[in-house]
Structure formats: structure tokens, C-alpha cells
Symmetry: C2
Subunit: 276 residues, 2 copies
């Protein structure tokens, strides 16, 4: 692990690291905020998965999570959204595919399969690295994210029962298998069989019987992607008549930006702190 | 005034505007956060002046001021740090001179004098624009800033008695006339007479009799610029045996970054809210 930066903030440490990823066959970068409490005891780990086009840096700079994370004693891990590098396949014409658009799946199709193993990276390789490098209480993990990262957080919560104690999302893509926003990438990463896509789709996973106790979703009504790719009402319908509790909050005038995310960041951090 | 962006945040509005500046003879850009209270009553105005290399955007994205500004009902104005544009003189070799490095002075020397009129812009032109465009209570203004912007805030507080009710700074350049960091720009903007430079130097202004009731200064001890260009102890010495109250807080492990600024932003906003 190479330290790329370390900055004291809110009594804790905001750091950025790079490392050679076995899963992704390239160098990966991630950010970690270590709260002041970690000098005294292991702290819960909260995973933040970012949206399309983002790196680890966007939420680190604009997410405004450190004050409350320092108060609540949460380690915040912010991974990149895809493998990176000149040798990593990319799409120069479609920002919803390739670098910055890993969609948190393990690709099976050439040429993406060699590097685009984001599910393995986020759920296996990086947790092992975090557990070995920080005073992290890995029995107390939560996961959240934004947009494509909300998709990642919700599907991982549903697919790995017991792993995460809490899950929330800002403006998540709840049904990528039916969203034109995501279908292009799913086809390139996973092939053309929609049954395979549905294994990476929060709505379809619930329909197939996957369960997680409760979700918090915040969504802005002025989000330009609401009708096109997000449609949280599909998840509301999916959990109806199940034992999954959903708190879906629609916020007038809020858009898809970090101004929206940062506004409700404190609520999400408290949600997780009460559950991990 | 052209609206470049508008994003709802913390119940208020974070907006970015451009306008043709008469003072600077070019198009200027600035950011304004309007708190939710402004729908009901005029709100105090707090000016944030940024440091070298910054635009209006750095503190807007990384400063984490909106939550507390919305709570306290403060309008936050974040101007650019210099005139901009292809026709505006610049230095390609010295980042402490030219675009991004206006030093909040009115240049008298060619070729800078035509555009580099940042003192007039910040203290006259932009306040008139703010007063005419927002529900701003211009009798309740405060000013603060970072590094070069801390210099700007402190010198304006000292030079315009009664204008600002409060002043604070993060890691300010308190004595630019004696700092190698600033002397190069001062010479290009103001000529070679150090007596002229001292009219834009917080320490020298105090020595010459300028007064402001009280200052709050936060400074990180791990700031790489501390010994080179900041030296807050010079201002501590300058106000000794005057009626100027100085709260100078040195923070172990903190550097010069926005991680430092955002950590203490709440304290500064409360400081101003109590005084404006």
C-alpha cells in the first residue's frame, strides 16, 4: 500500500492509498477517513460507493462526511468506481461504460473481464486490506453510495447477508437491468442474457427472494436522471408485501449533485451508526 | 449577471454567477450561498476570500460551510482571486503572480493595472451587486479568508472601519510586505516602494495605527508554508500593547489544505454570526 496523501481533519486522518489489485489486475486507489476514536478502539467501517464518472476523490472532497464520521467514530472507505490505467479497456464514447463506470460487477466478457472485477474487489480484496491496515471492526460494517454506487451498495447488501449491518443510498439506480442507463454496460460486462443482469439488480434480487432488513433512500425531485435511470418507485414496488423496510424520502428541488449528497450526509451517517 | 449554476443545498441555494466587471475590465465569476432564512428576511453577508491558485469554486466545493450557514442564516459570498481571461496579464512561471494571485490590491503598474483592481472589486463593485441582487443586510457584513485571502480579509477589516463587523482567517499571510511569498507580486502590482506595500499588510497597518476590534486566526502547525510566508506570530507581536483582541489558535498536525479549513469552518461561522 502506498500513501498518496494524508491530511488531518476533524481530529482524524483523511488518507489516500494506492495498491496493486489482484482482482482488477491494475493499480487501484482508494480513500479512507480514520476517525479520532480509532486511536483507542476498533471502529465500524462504512463503505461509500461512488457514482458514474467519479473516482475516490469526489466524495472525499465534496461529500462533507468527516465532521459527523469523527463525531460518531466511523471509518469511511471510498473506493474508486472502476479499474484504471492505459492498459485497462475503456469506452471513449460512452461515459456509462469502462473507466469510471465499473457498475460493481465482476465482468465475464472480453476485453473487460481481465480488469473489471469490482464486486470481488469491493467485497473481498479491499475488505481484507482494510482489516489488515486499520483499527477496523469488521463485524460492524455498513454500506452506502450514490447513483451507480447506490446500486452497488443495495445489491451487495442483498447478496451478502450478514456482511453489512446497514445500507442506504442517495439517488440509486435500483433497477439497472431495465434501465437504458445501465443496460449498455451490463451487456458489455456480463453478456446478453438478462437473467444474468438480474443478479446485479436490487429490484430483481428482491423479486428473487433476496432480503435485507431495511433501506434508507434519499432522492431529489429535481434530479435530471430521476425518470431516465433511477426510478426509486420501482424499488418501493419491489419491497411491497415483503418484510423489507424502506424509508424513501423524496426531496423537493434537490438534484443529483454533491450539494444534494452533502445535505443529507449527516442523516445517512447517523442511520448507519445506529445500526452497525 | 449570468447564472452559471444553481444547486439546492441545506434548504438554501448555492449559485454561481458571472458578470462584466467594470473594476477589473473582464468577466468575473463568483459564488453565493443563500440560506433558507433569506426567503423571510434580509440576512447578514459573510465574505470569504480564497487563497493563491483558487477560484470561487474551491471553497464552494471543499469548504463545508453550507450546513452551518443555513443554520445561522448567513449569505456566503465567495469571489474569485483575480481577474481572468486570455486578455488578462498573467505569469506562466510564478504561481504567486497573475491570474489566481490578485492579492486583493488595486494594481498601479503596467500591464496589471488595467485588470488587477481586486480591492475595488471586492469592497465596492461586488457589494453593490450583492446588495441589489439578494436579500442581503449590508449593515451586517463579516469577512474571512484563507492564506492570501486571510491577508485580504484582515487588511480590508483594518482599512474600512465600520464596514465589517467581524473578521477571521485561516492561515493568513499577515505580513506580505516582508514575505518572499508576496513581495514578487507586490512589486509587479504596486511598484518598488515598500511604503506602498505596507498599506496592504495587516501587521504594517496596525503599526501605522489602523484598528479593528478583534480577530480570530486558526493556523496548523504542520502547514508547509508556516515559516515561509505565514508567520502569524508577527501579527501577534503587532497587536501586542494595542486594544486589538487576537484569538490565535495553533492546531497540531493540521496543514494548509481545505481539510484544515473545513475542520474549523463551523467555529468561524459561529464567530461571525455572533458579531455581525
Amino acid at each position: 500500500m502506498n500513501i498518496l496523501s494524508e491530511n488531518t481533519a476533524f481530529g482524524g486522518m483523511q488518507a489516500v492509498f494506492s495498491h496493486d489489485s489482484e482482482a482488477c489486475n491494475c493499480e487501484m486507489t482508494f480513500a479512507v477517513f480514520v476517525p479520532p476514536q480509532a486511536t483507542e478502539r476498533p471502529c465500524p467501517v462504512l463503505w461509500y460507493l461512488s457514482g458514474l464518472t467519479c473516482t475516490h476523490a469526489n466524495v472525499m472532497e465534496k461529500g462533507e462526511y468527516r465532521r459527523m464520521a469523527a463525531e460518531l467514530g466511523l471509518i469511511i472507505v471510498c473506493p474508486d468506481t472502476s479499474p484504471r490505467g492505459k492498459d485497462v479497456p475503456d469506452s471513449l464514447t460512452n461515459w456509462q461504460l469502462g473507466q469510471g463506470a465499473g457498475f460493481y460487477v465482476d465482468a465475464t466478457e472480453s476485453p473487460y473481464a481481465l480488469n473489471y472485477q469490482m464486486e470481488t474487489y469491493i467485497t473481498k480484496e479491499l475488505p481484507a486490506l482494510i482489516a489488515g491496515s486499520f483499527r477496523a471492526d469488521m463485524d460492524r460494517q455498513g454500506i452506502f453510495g450514490h447513483s451507480m454506487g447506490g446500486h452497488g451498495a443495495m445489491t451487495f447488501a442483498l447478496k451478502y447477508p450478514g456482511r453489512y449491518k446497514s445500507c442506504s443510498a442517495f439517488a440509486p439506480i435500483v433497477s439497472p437491468s431495465t434501465s437504458p442507463w445501465a443496460q449498455g454496460a451490463f451487456e458489455k460486462y456480463l453478456g446478453t442474457d438478462p437473467d444474468v443482469w438480474r443478479k446485479h439488480d436490487a429490484c430483481a434480487l428482491v423479486a428473487a427472494g433476496a432480503r435485507f432488513p431495511e433501506f434508507l433512500i434519499d432522492q431529489g425531485t429535481a434530479d435530471g436522471f430521476l425518470e431516465e435511470g433511477l426510478k426509486p418507485w420501482l424499488f418501493e414496488a419491489a419491497v411491497k408485501d415483503t418484510d423489507i423496510a424502506l424509508t424513501l424520502r423524496m426531496h423537493e428541488r434537490y438534484d443529483h449533485s454533491y450539494y444534494f449528497i452533502s445535505t443529507f450526509m449527516d442523516d445517512h451517517l447517523r442511520w448507519h451508526a445506529e445500526r452497525v
